[in-house]
């Protein structure tokens, strides 16, 4: 939303400050200023000129020769514009002067004829984007007048942020009010010179007639008020320079004096108006109602639109002539041939206007304001001002009577304000007088009937309804930057820290210490990364690739892996902690039909360690993955890692839960906690990921963050001060016997002073008979209370070996 600085200065006599200073003042007390746009800089050399004579160029069809009066002796100018009118006024730049872009104009010959200067287009003057022709200036200007004087230049436009509650700032008077209040000045709307019109209102609840037009509101919910006036005998032509200048400064294109008058009032007072060519209003009847199925209307922008019943329309005796509060119809628009005008000034319901605009996928200056709520008390003044502007710029005569249909606004809302509440909320001690001093300049009038209370001006009625709304105005007017700084005693929160944070902190510490990097992937994914069984899809996704919520983390991390591979990175170790989603089953209860779970996913591929010159690089293998899974399981979750057989009966649902059916290869594990499976780990199937030929095997794991235990104090175990007795034992066991079974048997058969036993070598081949493999274990025996005798260690080992022979068909290879 743009406001012109010159316009604001005109509305607030005495207002001082540069554009930057005023922008800063607005930003700190009212609303943000996104941009300061210079308007009409560098036009000091441009003058108004009249084309006295127009001739064809002797050697070029497309060029014409103009004899131009720029206030001095007439000169000849060569011009390439398609349309130039003899007698018309145009901006002229004489040789030796420069255009805003810095281009210096010199006398030069064009096709053999010397051009003594140039007539300029809107774009050449940086006054607009139109480069198609020379800018036609309004009649009535004196040749030789500097353009900056005729157009009140230079100016600056401030691009304001308008928050949804402050639509009153979408006009110059609204912004002027704030600046005036800050500066201790007043807003003065200058009267329209040479025009005076105060109508006699013809009122009606549902319908009324005046000046030959009958207005009826069929649906009062859609339109609260409808005022209309008739001006007859207008001469439609370009607006005077001052009016054009105002509109141009705020980025609006001047059209003709009647339409420009409505646009001027829109930007001055915030009231959208619409001018109809009365001759095109069939039957002299105006109605407001919902559109009917099948109705169509060609709007001002030339688009033929199908109307939906959600839309509110303005009708004449035969059908829709405008989309209410959004855009007029092309058929009834004011054109050069218009003589009689019907001027609409209405208050359309915000919600209905919103639905109307949405149904047509249109947003206009008018709908923007009606949606946010315009001042329903301001209609009379706005209509009168617009009629006077039309009379002043287009002539004609206004009918003395004007229609006014709908409810008259009742008395203004009164909102009480307790000074003690101000203190409680803001921490400022302000008495009634001080509060009034802050609020009155913005139009809040003190109500004297009871305690401290204020009457809300019409332009703030939508926003200010409660005491707290007024307190915000007090804080704002006081200035946020003027509040003191002070610490207050605080009481501790009753809300405990969510334990998921401690859980994820533990996971992060472990995984990061193992050389994994944290990824934060988008949770919007394609179908292939959503929950396999119960995917969660969006109603209106931006794209199919982002049409679902992720159902598991590993599939998402695999996409991240592909991204890395595509950039030539083969050593990838990533983890992520985040939410996964699945649609709830029909019989599953919940506030929303989607279940969320916090998960941890990780993947490893590439070399086990950063390459080093001293060794051959080895790739991450299943034992790296299993080791990491074991650290996660036993270290964080009190769980174990078990091989997951391919043929396990409950595989599908279990894997589905972790999204693993899509990627888990043959080497697979489950993480088993006290309450069952908490996660899965394993190799990633080749077809589950788009791998370049040089890629190493990929290993991944995923588990629920909820399974992570909160760290509990670890009980101390005494350290033995007696010597340890090491022993190695190599066993040849049938290939079908698992290492874990052997270890379990060892632990079962061993005395309590077996401190540690671990598999340290596995061997198959020469020296081991067929169908068997060698498993070598290293034992460490140590008692807490004595030095072990050799004999008792030997006896214990014998016992272990005997048990292994019985239970595992093990044969000792060496002892």
């Amino acid at each position: 939303m743009r406001v012109s600085l010159n316009w604001l200065r005109q509305l607030v006599p005495g207002l001082e400050g540069t554009a930057e200073e005023l922008a800063d003042r607005l930003a700190m007390t009212v609303t943000g200023v996104e941009e300061i746009v210079p308007v009409g800089r560098g036009l000091e050399d441009i003058r108004v000129a009249r084309v006295l004579e127009l001739r064809e160029h002797p050697d070029a069809d497309r060029l014409s020769l103009c004899l131009v009066d720029g206030g001095e002796d007439p000169v000849e100018v060569v011009c390439g514009a398609p349309v130039i009118h003899e007698g018309g006024l145009y901006p002229f730049i004489a040789p030796g002067s420069t255009l805003p872009g810095g281009l210096r104009i010199e006398e030069r010959a064009i096709r053999g004829v010397t051009s003594h200067g140039m007539l300029c287009s809107e774009r050449e003057l940086a006054l607009g984007s139109d480069a198609s022709g020379i800018l036609r200036l309004p009649d009535g200007l004196e040749p030789g007048t500097p353009l900056v004087q005729a157009f009140d230049l230079p100016d600056a436009a401030l691009e304001l942020e308008i928050t949804p509650n402050r639509v009153d700032l979408a006009c110059h008077v609204g912004v002027a009010r704030e600046l005036a209040a800050e500066a201790g000045l007043e807003v003065r709307v200058p009267p329209v010179e040479g025009a005076d019109w105060e109508p006699t209102w013809r009122d009606g609840h549902e319908a009324a007639s005046a000046g030959g037009v009958t207005v009826g509101i069929e649906d009062a919910a859609r339109c609260g008020r409808y005022l209309g006036a008739v001006v007859r005998g207008v001469e439609v032509k370009p607006s005077p320079a001052w009016l054009q200048a105002r509109l141009r400064a705020v980025g609006a294109r001047p059209i003709n004096n009647v339409v420009d008058a409505t646009n001027y009032v829109l930007r001055e007072l915030n009231q959208p108006l619409h001018a109809f060519d009365l001759a095109r209003v069939r039957g002299g009847r105006i109605g407001v109602r919902a559109a009917r199925a099948g109705e169509r209307l060609r709007t001002l922008d030339g688009v033929e639109r199908a109307l939906e019943p959600a839309a509110t329309v303005i009708t004449d005796a035969e059908g829709p002539v405008a989309v209410a509060g959004v855009m007029g119809g092309e058929e009834s628009e004011v054109t050069a041939g218009t003589t009689d005008v019907f001027l609409e000034c209405a208050w359309f319901d915000p919600s209905h206007t919103r639905h109307t605009a949405r149904s047509l996928e249109l947003s206009t200056d008018a709908s923007y304001r009606f949606e946010r709520g315009v001042d329903r008390r301001g209609c009379e003044a706005a209509l009168a001002r617009c009629v006077r502007l039309i009379l002043a710029t287009a002539g004609g005569k206004a009918e003395a009577d004007a229609v006014r249909v709908g409810e008259l606004p009742g008395p203004r809302t009164v909102v009480p304000l307790r000074p003690e509440r101000v203190q409680r909320l803001l921490g400022l001690v302000l008495d009634a007088g001080a509060i009034e001093g802050l609020l009155a300049p913005l139009g809040f009038e003190r109500d004297e009937t009871g305690g401290l209370a204020f009457r809300i001006p019409g332009w703030r009625e939508g926003d200010i309804r409660r005491e707290v709304d007024l307190i915000e105005e007090v804080a704002r007017r006081h200035g946020y930057e003027r509040f003191p700084t002070a610490t207050r005693p605080t009481r501790p929160s009753t809300v405990p820290d969510d334990p998921s944070f401690a859980r994820s902190d533990r996971v992060r510490r472990l995984l990061e210490s193992r050389g994994l990097l944290e990824a934060r992937s988008s949770s919007l994914v394609a179908r292939s990364e959503a929950d396999a069984e119960r995917p969660v899809d969006l109603l209106h996704p931006i794209s199919a690739e982002e049409g679902f919520l992720r159902g598991a983390l590993v599939p998402v991390l695999l996409r991240r892996l592909e991204h890395n591979w595509a950039r030539g990175t083969g050593d990838v170790r990533l983890y992520e902690i985040g939410t996964v989603f699945r649609r709830r089953a029909e019989d599953e209860s919940g506030e929303v039909p989607v279940a969320e779970e916090l998960r941890v996913g990780a993947l490893l591929t590439g070399r086990r360690r950063p390459p080093h010159w001293s060794e051959e690089p080895a790739a991450v293998d299943v034992w790296d993955l299993k080791g990491l899974a074991e650290e996660v399981a036993s270290g964080l979750c009190g769980a174990t890692v078990e091989p997951l057989p391919l043929a396990s009966g409950d595989e599908a649902p279990a894997l589905g839960r972790f999204g693993a059916a899509r990627w888990l290869g043959a080497e697979r594990f489950e993480l088993v906690g006290p309450a069952g499976r908490i996660g899965v780990a394993g190799g990633v199937r080749r077809e589950a990921v788009d791998a370049p030929p040089w890629a190493e095997a990929v290993w991944a794991l995923e588990f629920g963050l909820g399974a992570v235990e909160l760290a509990a104090p670890t009980p101390y175990r005494p350290l033995s001060t007696f010597p340890a007795v090491p022993r190695d034992l190599a066993l040849a066991v049938p290939a079908s016997v698992r290492a874990a079974e052997v270890e379990a048997v060892i632990r079962e058969a061993a005395p309590e002073w077996l401190e540690d036993v671990r598999l340290f070598d596995v061997y198959e081949g020469d020296g081991v008979e067929g169908g068997r493999r060698s498993l070598a274990f290293r034992f460490r025996f140590r008692a807490r209370d004595r030095t072990l005798e050799d004999a008792e260690v030997e006896s214990a080992l014998k016992q272990i070996i005997r048990r292994l022979e019985e239970r595992c068909d093990a044969r000792v290879r060496s002892a």
Partner: protein, 347 residues
């Protein structure tokens, strides 16, 4: 005998002088060993003298024995010193052969995402001030996402949220603010919480916008919480997070769930306030939407708005990470590119 001198004592003095010199000046381990055997060996010079003590008169034995032991100690010390010198020289030579300029052996670096680091730091600062961390669901009801927060659905105020719907009444939360309502429904004041979380908006994705983004919310509610406390707390946070020299300013803004509402800006961390591309020449950067909790929110969750007051704020850790590290494009945060993540790895 002192006048005429004891020949053995004189002999010992000579051995000491010669032996110390021989050991000290030994050129290498071999020479050192030869010298050691000669002076300190089983049949070396010192042993030879001490072996002859028995032939001395009784009153002379003691001084010779004492002197002999002293000489032996002196020689041993010299030997040890020289041996250490020679060993050091030897290992230095070996080390020089090994070329210690070659790179060392390392492990893969692990580490947190820069956005996580920002979230952690924000949480830590507020936890020092008595705030706790809470979470809420990402799939929300319209009621929690909008209605409870005083955002009318049929109003331009809801438009700015560009909401993803899953079905009628069910949305992907557009901010972490619904957790305000959830927390207040389940806990009585004093409430002081921070809420990190992922949010969603139907925005087209570019360098500074993402459809999925992180937000961190804060809420403090109790009796006697006022605008002064709010401002002071936020200023404290800014100084802790951005540095003591960073300035804060509060500007009017609009959020349906706070009133008064404020936009918090900090002096530009890039240019220090003189104006640059990052701050669009203004010298200030918006970091936080905030304000005093609107009484309508208290009413929605069943708190007495006459008794309790509070403040709430929300900021974008993603944007703050970009600012902190000078990262030009938001999209880099979510690609999981190892080359990017490794830059911020700390372990």
């Amino acid at each position: 005998m002192s006048e005429g001198g004891n020949p053995l004592l004189e002999r010992l003095a000579a051995i000491e002088e010669e032996g110390v010199a021989a050991l000290r000046d030994a050129a290498d381990e071999e020479a050192l060993e030869t010298a050691r055997v000669r002076y300190l060996g089983r049949s070396g010079a010192v042993a030879d003298v001490l072996g002859r003590i028995g032939s001395l008169p009784a009153d002379q034995r003691r001084p010779v024995g004492q002197k002999g032991n002293a000489v032996k100690r002196a020689l041993e010390e010299t030997h040890e010193t020289r041996a250490a010198e020679l060993r050091m020289r030897e290992s230095a030579r070996a080390a020089a052969d090994r070329d210690l300029t070659r790179p060392g052996r390392t492990a893969w670096p692990g580490g947190s995402h820069p956005v996580t680091a920002v979230i952690d730091e924000i949480c830590d600062i507020f936890r020092e001030l008595g705030f706790t961390r809470v979470r809420g669901p990402e799939v929300e009801t319209e009621w929690y996402n909008f209605t409870a927060l005083n955002i009318p659905l049929d109003h331009p105020a809801a438009d700015v949220h560009d909401t993803f719907y899953l079905e009628d009444g069910v949305v992907l939360r557009t901010h972490t603010s619904p957790v305000q309502a959830r927390t207040m429904q389940t806990h009585q004041p004093p409430v002081r919480v921070v809420v990190p979380g992922v949010c969603y908006r139907r925005e087209s994705i570019d360098a500074s916008h993402a459809a999925v983004f992180d937000q961190i919310e804060g809420l403090a509610v109790d009796e006697g919480v006022d605008f002064v406390e709010f401002r002071s707390t936020i200023e404290h946070f800014v100084r802790r997070f951005f540095g003591a020299e960073t300035r804060t300013r509060f500007r009017p803004d609009f959020f349906p769930f706070t009133e008064p509402s404020a936009q918090v800006e900090v002096s530009c961390t890039i240019c220090g306030g003189s104006g640059c591309a990052t701050c669009k020449g203004t010298g200030w950067i918006e970091i936080m939407g905030s304000g005093m909790v609107d009484p309508a929110v208290f009413e929605a969750v069943g708190y007495d708005p006459e008794r309790y007051t509070g403040y709430a704020f929300g900021m974008g850790p993603g944007r703050m990470a970009l600012l902190r590290h000078g990262i030009p494009d938001l999209r880099l945060l979510h690609e999981g590119d190892v080359r990017f993540l490794r830059q911020f790895a700390s372990t």
